[in-house]
């Protein structure tokens, strides 16, 4: 099995976050992360990055909301507020 030094650990970040590794490999990496600030920072960054991507995609309805708000305002105007 792969020896998880820093290089290997960093190389596997996406597989780790997507849970594409075996349990034993995940454990190895977790153990490495516990003792390595540099790798941990990398993993934290990628985790945050994933969250940002997910969050942003959740906000696609913004477009629709925008239409709704403008519609309401036009309606208010038409009714002479």
């Amino acid at each position: 099995m792969t020896e998880f030094d820093c290089q290997e650990t960093k190389r596997h970040v996406h597989e780790f976050l997507q849970a594409e590794l075996t349990e034993a490999e995940m454990d190895e990496i977790t153990a490495h992360l516990a003792n390595c600030d540099s790798c941990e920072a990398d993993y934290d960054f990628e985790t945050l990055f994933n969250d940002v991507i997910k969050r942003s995609c959740d906000e696609v309805p913004a477009q629709e909301l925008s239409e709704r708000i403008l519609g309401k305002i036009r309606q208010t105007l038409a009714e002479g507020h």
Partner: protein, 221 residues
Amino acid sequence: MGATFSPSIGGGFMGGVSLKSSAMTSKKADPQAQKMREFEEQAMPLMPMMLAIAKRIVANSEDAEDLVQETYIKAFKSWHQFQQGSNLKAWLITILRNTSKNGFEKANRDKTRGSIDELEEWQVGTAESLTSRITRSAEAEALDNLPAETVLKALDALPEDFREVLLQAVVVGLSYKEIATATGVNPITVGTRLSRAKEALRVTLADYAREEGYSVPEDKE
């Protein structure tokens, strides 16, 4: 925030303004249309950001959308009070905050995610948000504060094959194997595309963040 003016949330304050202008606007186009245009051009682009902020105040996204809608309607009603050239973002956040305090928060107290005061700290970047465990490198912080719209723009700029893999893996949560089946490439290629897509997205977003004034290091290899 530095915004000392407080918008009159109650609205109904336009009497003086419209009287004055209607006296001299015989030839001018409808002032309401003008106001509408200004509002659309200036306030609407900030809406996704306001939505992101609202989502940090109320727990569910439906409430967040309602809060933003109410905020924008109030903002439109008191648009004449906004001083052109001053900080629109801060002005809108003030209205959002007041709207949330006046009833919105009360009605949703049990669902409230965090206090409004926390929001302010988050705004100035001192609060521990989801990045609490994270080394707050400038890049991470910039990334966390970029509006969704910007992230989506960067996603759209990726080659389609790469974007597809990224969205399926990160957003939908499919396995490499599932993505491979869906896209007709092998799982190893899926892995490669995912990491390339994230690298490319990271570079693009770092560029955007620099444009926004964050000091993100030019290159990190």
